[in-house]
Symmetry: C2
């Protein structure tokens, strides 16, 4: 689809506006009219940019939110080669979820958007792959660096960390408490960084 700068801006306004609404009140509770009102657009514009309607919008929101999840961990997640960068990463993650609380992109991605369509599911699963890849590289680097024991199972360790974040976010959404994420992250990172 050819698009002018103005068109691209409208499209982005729709996606980011929809994403925000869905974070705050859930995807299922967000209807198209709300999105249109919040973004000052009309129905025909929405269907112009998303011929598949709501379904297409959900996929775009998924991709947008997946990007936000990675963005929140930058720049650290891109280079987890030292204990310092791991610690900085941990701080960044905790800060992000402390700020957003239950209204985080990851929460709505895993619990709602991911199961809305095969395409959205693919987006979520791609996110996990990228994320796991970054963590694997980081664990590997710490072994080379000598901080972590060389017999550490690299992939399993990375997956544990990913799982810890997921679990922490679920509990955050359910209880409003950040402590689950903090504690579990500490436990899981211990073999990598030692007791802080």
């Amino acid at each position: 689809m050819r698009m002018t700068a103005r068109g691209a801006a409208t499209r982005l306004r729709l996606v980011s506006g929809a994403a925000l609404l869905m974070r705050e009140q859930g995807a299922a509770e967000t209807n198209l009219d709300q999105v249109l009102r919040a973004t000052a657009t009309s129905k025909s514009q929405l269907f112009h940019y998303f011929p598949d309607g709501r379904a297409g919008l959900l996929v775009a929101v998924s991709a947008y939110e997946a990007e936000q999840v990675m963005e929140a961990q930058r720049p650290y997640v891109d280079d987890l080669s030292t204990p310092e960068s791991w610690r900085a990463w941990r701080r960044a993650v905790l800060r992000h979820y402390a700020e957003l609380g239950e209204r985080c992109p990851l929460g709505v991605l895993t619990s709602e958007l991911g199961s809305s369509s095969p395409e959205a599911r693919q987006v979520v699963s791609d996110l996990y792959d990228r994320w796991e890849g970054a963590l694997i590289a980081g664990v590997q680097a710490l072994i080379v660096h000598g901080t972590a024991r060389s017999d550490l199972p690299v992939r399993d360790t990375a997956r544990s960390i990913l799982t810890a974040v997921q679990g922490g976010v679920v509990m955050l959404r359910a209880t409003g408490r950040l402590s689950y994420l903090e504690t579990t992250l500490d436990t899981t990172l211990e073999p990598l960084l030692g007791t802080p």
Copy 2:
């Protein structure tokens, strides 16, 4: 509401039937007509037992599924006083999720039902409290038993285990792989049971 045996059976048929449908296809994708067809009941029966309609049914399903989550861990979760019972508990949990896969009560509880209404949210949060309580008692017992170090933070350890299960289930639902749960559970239980 007064109820005869027959009425109670009808009510239970509605709740358990709805729960099954919602596990398999999600709560949002399950409408009342499907529930009625699956349970061989009629709309007036449903509204007879659930005057609040769909909302009330969702709360009842939440309570039912919360009970299923605990039931799946029985009898071990009620007495985690020895390393053997902890190991048996771990096996029971893994077997349960290996069997049900993505169609587990916990998954639909956390991702859909829990946010459907304040009442349902309360049910979910009560479940977590009960669960955490059982784990705390178990960790405490292992310390008394001498298996676990006495300086282990009891509540934090219990919460880590709970978070590990949650994270593992999220990843199971997203990827279909049980390994996340297995690995993370091992890591988290290590300070309690040592390397198996």
